[in-house]
């Protein structure tokens, strides 16, 4: 019992550390990707190739003066970024990072916990995430922040519905809510993307909206709302908001890979003839490769296309994605009925 507890603690801290490091270097990667797309050099002063830039930024964030506006609701003003950061880190608990490692006959799952309602847990936590932005924007007592918070909350609530419906089609197909089982149903190259392409497109669009990334970055679009919901924030509280965005991006990429791209599965994995432990390690690497690809995809989109207007965003969510998601459910049901999976 104690051994399991210690193992879980180590795993929790490892995953927390990995999430934070990946998020930290996503900020660096974002600037490098932007620089690459815009014929610039990007950060290259701190350390070799500017690799220490995220550390320098972190130190800078901590050293900055912390300003809490006198007209703000101070308790809520502090709670806002805490919620945003906490919820973004909580989701990593249910993600299966790789298949089990077995050392001396004991099996060590590379997943903090295999909740049998993993998807529901994800949705629950992500929905709490909107409170971080809403409370922060409202407590600042600034009109730009309030507008940003309004936009963020209505956007996240609308897109969660389409996202949920896209997942329902997937759940119908897989018959489980556990993320581990979903991954294990996609051995080798039999990824869900092949069976659920429409669902995947809806899901990734909604993931962009949930992460507040371009073209859905209306909550903080600097040309209209100055800084959106975090206009009044400074120091590490601002850092928390910005950081939470990158953690969210990392987790979203992980979820996309898990649900639609086979998680740690990769084609011809069983033909290689490797031992299960080697396969687990390789699977973990492949999983991270998929995650990094999607993080790059997020950045690629951000530096390419313009953003939506508020009403267009709502139209897309309610009039575009929602009917398509419903149609996708019907289509999935029809195909399952025709192929005899249900009767």
């Amino acid at each position: 019992m104690l051994a399991v507890l210690i193992y879980k603690l180590i795993l929790v801290f490892a995953i927390l550390g990995i999430s934070l490091v990946v998020a930290m270097y996503s900020t660096y990667a974002e600037r490098k990707v932007a620089a690459f797309m815009q014929d610039r050099l990007g950060p290259n002063r701190a350390g070799p190739f500017g690799l220490l830039q995220p550390l320098a930024d972190g130190v800078k964030m901590f050293m900055k003066e912390e300003i809490i506006p006198s007209v703000s609701n101070q308790t809520l003003f502090i709670i806002g970024p805490c919620i945003a950061m906490t919820t973004s880190l909580m989701t990593s608990a249910v993600i299966p990072w790789s298949s089990d490692l077995s050392i001396n006959g004991t099996s060590y799952p590379l997943q903090v916990t295999d909740v049998n309602i993993g998807i529901l847990y994800l949705f629950g936590v992500v929905s709490i995430g909107v409170y971080g932005i809403m409370i922060g924007g409202w407590a600042s007592n600034n009109k730009f922040s309030l507008l940003g918070a309004l936009r963020a909350s209505s956007q996240m609530i609308s897109y969660e519905i389409a996202m949920g419906l896209a997942i329902i089609a997937l759940v119908m197909m897989t018959g489980t809510l556990s993320l581990r089982e979903i991954v294990e149903q996609q051995p080798g190259g039999h990824w869900n993307i092949l069976y659920q392409p429409i669902g995947f497109i809806i899901f990734i669009v909604c993931a962009f909206a949930e992460c507040n990334r371009t073209p859905f970055d209306l909550a903080e679009c600097e040309t209209e709302l100055v800084g959106g919901y975090h206009t009044e924030y400074s120091s590490m509280k601002l850092g928390f908001y910005l950081f939470a965005e990158y953690v969210n991006m990392f987790i979203s990429s992980a979820i996309i890979s898990t649900l639609y791209f086979g998680g740690y599965n990769f084609p011809f994995m069983h033909e290689l003839g490797l031992s299960p432990n080697m396969l687990a390690l390789l699977g973990g690497l492949v999983f991270f490769a998929k995650i990094f690809f999607f993080i790059f995809f997020f950045m690629w989109i951000r530096w390419t296309i313009p953003r939506f207007r508020y009403d267009q965003l709502m139209n897309l969510g309610w009039k575009g994605l929602l009917p398509i998601a419903l149609g996708n459910i019907a289509l999935t049901g029809l195909v399952m009925w025709l192929t005899g999976k249900i009767n």
């Binding site: 507008l147 970055d217 679009c221 040309t223 209209e224 530096w303």
Partner: protein, 404 residues
Amino acid sequence: MAQEINKTTTQVEEKQYSTLNLGPTHPATHGIFQNILTMDGEIIVDAVPTIGYIHRAFEKIAERRPYYQITVLTDRMNYCSSPINNMGYHMAVEKLLNVEIPKRVQYMRVIVMELARISDHIICNSVISVDSGALSGFVYMFQFRELIYEIYEEICGARLTTNMGRIGGFERNWPKTAWEKIDKFLHEFPVQLDEFESLLIRNRIFMDRTINVGPISAERALNYGFTGPNLRAAGVDYDVRAMNPYSSYEDFEFTIPVGTNGDTYDRFVVRQEEMRQSLSIIRQALTKLKTLPDTVYHAEVPDVFLPPKELVYNQMEALIYHFKIVMGEVPVPVGEIYHAVEGGNGELGFYLVSDGGRTPYRLHFRRPCFIYYQAYPEMIKGAMLSDAILTLSSLNVIAGELDA
């Protein structure tokens, strides 16, 4: 305006509107101007722009300065295309003095004015892309604005506030590197222009964001006194270069692009096409220049054009002229003229009244942005906050022209 505010407040008395200060330090108000918006959620119910938020009293300062010292004031009006302002002012004074300008100088002026127009349009269009959220196109275009500034540097030594040229011509002949850089620009810029355009012009999100955003009909635009690309986007083919040619624009062939709706998208497209026309004008000017002697860079007007320094040190006449010009003792006829050039943003006019003294009796600048800004509240009423930002950047309102 006051009547309309009253109307909206009485119509729905229970409804509460919020007031939002857009500017003076808002990131999308490029420059310093203030807009007090009355908002119903995201919808703009009413807008009150504060005109004259910055005021530098250029027209009054001009009344106290000798003619050649006024050029530096014109730099600071539309600082995105200051050479046009400089040249326009020089031409206005030359019109007053009745000076004949050699063809070569006129063509050189055309080249530099068209470069300035391109740089002005680069700023406007790339800022539209930034304000709509697409950041990369901005950087692609600004590389070439930098190249234009390098050309300015070769010609006159300055970049932004150029103070380029003198009354009667240019202060010196252009160096070889200036011509080389112009060739480089003509060679490389069209490729980048096409790439930038392909990023946005058929992008569904960009089209949704700009089409029918901030529209103005041709009639309303004319009533307000719109000129330049903003009027042409509304469908009126008025261009000072064609209607009232100056600096030998009649020697060039170019088309005037016009839009139909006068919305943000049309303004964007019109400016894109105008950049192509400007490139063609520069090319024509370069071929025309090849046939002219390449040592002429100013008119023979010793009364107003400073003699070279060697002559000032060695010749009595040159010393006298130098002294008189620097002290502002230039004979100027009594008269009243209006000279307009097609600025980067519209008709830039100089209304100059002289009583024969050493300074103008009155100098009025017709600033196109000053006029666009009057129409701004009408154009954004009922629109959303995001539209207001895009409309402002597509009108290309430059704060330097607002202080009248």
